[in-house]
Amino acid sequence: MTALLELHQACLGQRLQPITLTLRADQRVVLLGASGAGKTTLLKLCNGALSPDAGSVHWCGRPHQQLSRRQRRQIGTLWQDLRLVEELSVIQNINSGALGRHGLLWAIRNLLGPLDPNTCLELMHQVKLEADLLEQPVRELSGGQRQRVALGRLLHQRPELVLADEPLSALDPSLAEDVLNTLLLLPGCLISLHRPDLIHRFDRVLGLRGGALVIDAAPNTIHRDQLEWLYASA
């Protein structure tokens, strides 16, 4: 399987020590670590929101800074704060996931009147969002509904790798299960979680402690003590 994302000795100030890491297509990876361990920083390095102080980050063999629009849209991110466009409706937000495949005129058309409702309805069905919310402003939705709109937008982007930052936090158990199932159906993913009990659902486990990558192994090789140490105070 070819390498999608490669980090080589990538580091960022005090927040992240040099990390070398390769993520391959069709690989489901969970990222564990206590709060402040550097999970969000690592995800931001992976999606190009942050640039490393030293080392490099490559997507399909090309440095992040040199990625084309087509390559950038192959990396999808489910942000912890969701980053929805608050002034728009559900359908317009879901459609914004497809902005990478279209130009300015399509974007303006989406603002004039919602486009492609059938595709959006399918996506809403996929993320278990009620169809009558299609034209509802996202600012009026509950936390769980907003989370699923963000997921719908991500699915509409059709990325090859999904980076998700604590996507299950603030969700009830049933909804968290639905969201995780949807994410695990995607081609490849790197998901940060505070749920060591779920590692058996993934192909690979990464553990961060104090900004350093201290675990990189298959779930069945990881001992319970290692996980406890990961979350223990320094």
Partner: protein
């Protein structure tokens, strides 16, 4: 499920739509354009980098600037103090706490409304006829509408910051004044001090406008320089003004960083400081004697009143005024987001900050005179001149909003592979669209009041008619025009409030 998708522009698109009016305005400018003034405009542009450094010119401009600042600071101080007091008295919450009734607030608001509906320039010209040329004429001309505008803002702030603690405090047996000090003042301190600070900038610009129409100060110098095509002198004055505005802005920021509560005592002290400063200059600050006989004598003959009302074709004049307002409103609202969408970047934010600053600095009548060098006078030209000036204000609002919101949303969109312009449209421009539109509707009120100024230059609308009536001492006609412009302004305010409500409900109903 049957899909019924309605076509309606989403909120982030609405600030851009008025920009389409620019196509029409450009069409008119091309139709009415004449090449005669291009060389003059080139000289004007060259003057920006080669301002006059003649000590006599600089000395005169410095004196003019000081007069403008004295007028501005005095009117700002007086209107701030009186405005806070009247604002409190015209708020329903105040009367409810003090007496358990609301009607005195409603009555006071109704009484004050006509005073703010008359533009400071009209006040200036009216007071000038009665009191003659005197420093107090300019000060009162600004202080009267500013006091009432301030009172309206303060009353609105008081009424929308009602603390849930107030009934608890009343229930606990606290006296009305103790309830106000504990439950009302703390949440109001920040917005009120911010608004008071903002009014100083407005007062300087108003003092400048009064100067352009002959009431003294730097405005008079700038107007004379422009009319005699002395662009180097004009630019010396504009650069001085720019420096003074930056210094005032820094002073206010520093003051706010120490304590927001300091601004009111400073406003209270400022008229006394300015009075001392003004007596050192050639500014007549002895209290003037009113000459009512000419005005009253004219008005005593009531039979002229009806005839005067028939002298003007009101529909045409009102149509011209509304048309100028609409064009100016569209240009001012649409231009800043449109330019940002054409060139979306950090560098563009910096450059546009400078451009909007310059447009804000140059008084609208002078912008109109500059545009007259390119094209024949028309309503579109008047609207464009006013729109560019207010575009300076709207541009600053847009840039400040985007800076305080941050560019994170644009980065999010870019990370999904969206093109740069689309990232800004769905990112920062969408984030600030609601606040921007709300401010734009408020600005429309101000633009409507300002058509008086541009009408005087452009030969159209109520402003022009007022100038004609004043020149011929036709007091009945003056009265009618002031009355009609006050009614128009109040109607505009009411429409603005409805539009603001509509932005909110539109966003809610999307």
């Amino acid at each position: 499920m049957a899909l019924r998708i309605s076509l309606k522009p989403a909120l982030p698109l609405i600030p851009l739509l008025p920009g389409l009016s620019l196509l029409g305005v450009l069409g008119v400018l091309l139709r009415d354009g004449h090449g005669g003034g291009i060389s003059v405009l080139q000289q004007f542009a060259a003057g920006a980098v080669q301002p006059s450094i003649d000590p006599i010119v600089l000395g005169s401009l410095l004196k003019g600037l000081q007069i403008t600042l004295v007028i501005a600071v005095m009117s700002w101080g007086i209107s701030s103090v009186l405005g806070v007091g009247l604002g409190l008295l015209s708020s329903s919450t105040f009367w409810e706490i003090q007496a358990g009734v609301r009607w005195p607030a409603v009555i006071l608001r109704r009484w004050l409304a006509p005073l703010r509906a008359v533009h400071e320039l009209i006040w200036g010209l009216l007071l000038l006829q009665v009191f003659g040329l005197n420093g107090w004429v300019a000060i009162c001309a600004i202080a009267i509408p500013f006091t009432v505008l301030m009172a309206r803002v303060i009353a609105d702030q008081v009424d929308c910051h009602v603390s849930p603690a107030i009934p608890v405090l009343k229930g606990a047996g606290a006296t009305p004044w103790a309830v106000m000090l504990t439950g009302l003042v703390p949440p109001l301190a920040e917005p009120i001090s911010d608004h008071i600070g903002h009014r100083l900038d407005c007062a300087v610009r108003s003092a400048l406008i009064l100067g352009v129409f002959g009431l003294g100060g730097l405005g008079t110098d700038l107007s004379l320089s422009l009319r005699s095509l002395q662009f180097q002198e004009l630019w010396s004055g504009l650069w001085m003004l720019a420096i003074a505005m930056v210094v005032l802005d820094r002073l206010l920021r520093t003051l706010r960083s120490w304590s927001r509560m300091l601004i009111l005592p400073v406003a209270m002290a400022s008229p006394w400081v300015a009075l001392g400063w003004g007596t050192q200059l050639d500014l007549q600050l002895a209290w003037p004697v009113a000459e009512w006989s000419m005005v009253v004598g004219n008005l005593i003959d009531g039979s002229q009143g009806f005839n005067a009302a028939l002298e003007i074709s009101w529909p045409g004049v009102i149509r011209a005024t509304v048309w100028i307002t609409l064009i100016a409103g569209c240009v001012a609202t649409g231009l800043p987001p449109l330019l940002l969408l054409v060139w979306p970047s950090q560098a563009s934010l910096h450059l546009q900050g400078v451009v909007w600053g310059a447009l804000r600095l140059i008084p609208a009548p002078l912008t109109a005179l500059l545009l007259l060098m390119l094209a024949k006078p028309s309503l579109s030209l008047a609207g464009l001149a006013l729109g560019l000036h207010h575009g300076g204000v709207m541009g600053r609002v847009l840039i400040d909003d985007i800076r305080s919101t941050g560019l994170g949303s644009a980065q999010t969109m870019k990370a999904c592979g969206a093109p740069n312009r689309v990232s800004w449209l769905y990112g920062p421009l969408a984030d600030v669209s609601r606040a921007y539109l709300t401010y734009a509707t408020y600005r429309l009120d101000v633009i409507l009041r300002d058509t008086a100024i541009i009408g005087m230059v452009g030969g159209a609308g109520l402003g022009w008619q007022l100038m004609e009536a004043l020149s011929s001492f036709h007091w009945w006609l003056v009265l009618w025009i002031v009355l009609i412009s006050a009614v128009l302004t109040l109607l505009g305010e009411s429409l603005g409030e409805r539009l603001q409500g509509s932005w909110n409900s539109r966003a809610m109903a999307l």
